[in-house]
Amino acid sequence: MRIIVTGASAPVRQGLHLLLSAVDGWHVEQLRDVDHRAGRARLRRADLLVLDLDPWPNGLTPLRRLALGRGTPIVALVTSATEARVRDALRAGAVACLAKERVAEDLVDAIVSATSPHP
């Protein structure tokens, strides 16, 4: 599975890359700028996107745009997973929204769930 992690924070991208690369069969790439031409090409090949929405609410705009594309599932990450923020992220097109502090515990399961065919 090809996963692209993207967002404004380099340490977050780096950490996500390390975390998800540890899963067998997952190929993970970092993408700093989703609007870059080369970036768009890589996005088209991805099976799933992990998008850091911080600094809130800056990530909502690219999330909406990416969600309108070819239907690649997007898992959103936020620092404070308040009910309002999670709701905003889901309405913007994310299939899941996680707090960053729960990434180590929940992100892999969230990705598996998001990419599994629904019964």
Partner: protein, 567 residues
């Protein structure tokens, strides 16, 4: 017939009588003159009541006080005396007791035979009757006696009229003077308070003025605060340590006055009060007047002991009541301003807290969350090189976080401001802003304390406000101006601190309807220290912000005079 000697004497008497303005003196003098002119042993003046049907007062001459007491009640105007009331014409009798309408004399009354009565008219209306009895030598009163008495009664009528007019005039004058004093009392507080809106200062002025107005040894102002009352101002000999003393509404005279909204005058304060401030000053008498504004009792003015030693009079009560009506308006106004100031202060604090919460979330919390993601990934990785790289990134991230936290803490309350004062704190601020923004910033600080012209630092609130104004102005420059150079001047002159921040940025239209949050925050911060500010700008011409902060001992932020810190 009236001989020339008695006519002259009657004329002299007339002059003497009409020149007198004291009514009681006039009446007594008429009686004495009547006896003198006619040789009567006894003279009396019966003053008619309002209906002119009976005698209201009965004044006598020639009867000793002990005889008076022995006779008892004065006559009421019946019998022979009543004849003149019913028919006000002179009446002469050889033997009064033989007249068919005579009632006879009461026990212990001296014997009286001859009688002469004449009516006294004042401005054409019956005033009373002049009675003479017992002409010396046992003779009856003759026609000459009657003529001279009619003449004297005429003089008496004029004199009584004059004296009454004079008395009425005096009373009107006294009434007018009371009205003027009451008016002065009400305007005095308005003049004294002027534009003052600081509640403590207003109460202090009211206490001093009220004390002087009723000449009290002490004057205390208590204000209602919830279910209690608190001493908020003291003038006179009672010590300021009374300030803050709480009194219950129940069982205290102030509470009673507050509830009834009626003034009280007490001759023996300590015997009446269970909860009294009088103990503090061993007060004897008291005058308590409520402060009522639009039907709402705010507190009580309590005056203790008249300086002259006597009790407070009804006039003092009336004066203090008039004064209290005006004072209550000043107190209510100051209370409103204080509440509004507190509300603004709370609002400003709330916005400040929100800003810090936002900054902490957007900066520090996000950095920590990112760090956790990074380290969580590193822990799962088997790639040693990648882990080392992640640790290096984490250390950089930590350094950035520490720097950011330090900036936030410095913004919250720069340590230098407490420790070294405004100048050093501003120098540190300028250095930080210049470093992070790349702006070229010139700073000029000329404050009395820093330049050695004063031994005392300004109150903390004023130092803080000065620092914050510069800080917020620079934040605006960095965010909005696009400037490359900024000049900051903080100069103290004539008990004012003037802050000027001038940039060479793009400027803006000051007439534009929307005021940015930064300017609004500065305006509110300045209002809290009674300061003002103005902005000069135009598109393409940079911006100059000028803020003026008054240096009034103990005033900025309501701090006490003693808050100024010495070197």
């Amino acid at each position: 017939m009236l001989d020339e000697r008695r006519l002259r004497r009657a004329l002299d008497v007339g002059q003497t009588v009409v020149s007198e303005l004291d009514l009681e003196v006039v009446l007594q003098r008429v009686l004495d003159m009547a006896r003198d002119l006619t040789g009567a042993r006894y003279a009396a003046l019966g003053i008619l009541d309002r209906e002119r049907k009976g005698v209201e007062r009965f004044l006598t001459a020639g009867i000793e006080p002990d005889v008076h007491r022995a006779i008892g009640d004065p006559p009421h105007g019946r019998g022979v005396l009543g004849l003149l009331i019913a028919d006000p014409r002179p009446l002469r009798l050889d033997d009064v007791s033989s007249h068919p309408q005579a009632y006879g004399f009461p026990v212990n009354h001296p014997p009286m035979r001859s009688f002469l009565g004449v009516p006294v008219l004042v401005r054409g209306e019956a005033y009373g009757n002049l009675y003479l009895t017992e002409k010396q030598g046992g003779d009856a009163f003759d026609e000459g006696d009657e003529e001279v008495m009619v003449l004297l009664a005429t003089w008496a009528g004029i004199a009584i009229g004059n004296a009454r007019a004079y008395t009425e005039e005096q009373e009107r004058r006294a009434e007018l003077e009371r009205a003027v004093r009451a008016l002065e009392a009400t305007t005095a507080i308005a003049r004294a308070v002027g534009g003052e809106t600081d509640l403590d200062r207003v109460l202090e002025l009211i206490a001093k003025r009220a004390r002087a107005l009723v000449d009290a040894r002490d004057l205390v102002i208590v204000l209602r605060e919830g279910d209690e009352m608190t001493v908020r101002a003291v003038a006179g000999e009672m010590g300021r340590d009374l300030l803050g003393t709480r009194l219950p509404l129940e069982g205290s005279i102030s509470g009673h006055v507050l509830r009834t909204r009626r003034p009280e005058r007490l001759a023996q304060v300590s015997s009446v009060l269970r909860h009294s401030l009088s103990d503090a000053g061993a007060a004897r008498t008291g005058l308590f007047v409520p402060l009522v504004f639009r039907g709402r009792p705010l507190g009580v003015l309590s005056a203790y002991d008249h300086a002259g030693g006597e009790e407070f009079t009804a006039e003092s009560e009336s004066l203090l009541e008039s004064f209290a009506a005006s004072a209550a308006t000043a107190v209510a106004t100051a209370q409103t301003v204080a509440a509004e100031g507190l509300r603004r202060s709370i609002d400003a604090s709330e916005r400040e807290r929100q800003r810090w919460a936002r900054e902490l979330h957007d900066e520090t919390l996000q950095q920590l969350a990112g760090l956790k993601v990074l380290l969580s990934g590193a822990r799962r990785s088997d790639d040693a090189a990648a882990v080392r790289e992640a640790l290096a990134t984490a250390i950089v991230q930590l350094d950035d976080g520490i720097t950011e936290l330090r900036r936030l803490i410095a913004d919250l309350r720069p340590a230098a401001l407490d420790e070294f004062g405004t100048k050093v704190a501003l120098e540190g601020l300028i250095e930080r802003v210049a470093e992070t923004s790349g702006l070229a910033i010139d700073l000029r600080v000329d404050l009395d304390f820093d330049e050695g012209r004063s031994e005392e630092r300004h109150p903390a609130e004023l130092e803080d406000a000065t620092y914050r104004i510069v800080q917020e102005a620079l934040t605006n420059v960095v965010k909005h101006s696009g400037a490359t150079r900024v000049q900051v001047a903080v100069v103290e002159r004539d008990r004012r601190i003037e802050v000027t921040v001038r940039d060479d940025g793009r400027g803006f239209d000051v007439e534009a309807p929307v005021e940015g949050f930064g300017l609004m925050g500065m305006r509110e911060r300045l209002e809290l220290v009674a300061g003002t500010f103005s902005v000069e700008s135009a598109p393409g011409e940079g911006t100059t912000l000028t803020a003026t902060l008054p240096v009034v001992a103990g005033r900025p932020g309501g701090a006490a005079a003693g808050d100024g810190r010495a070197r």
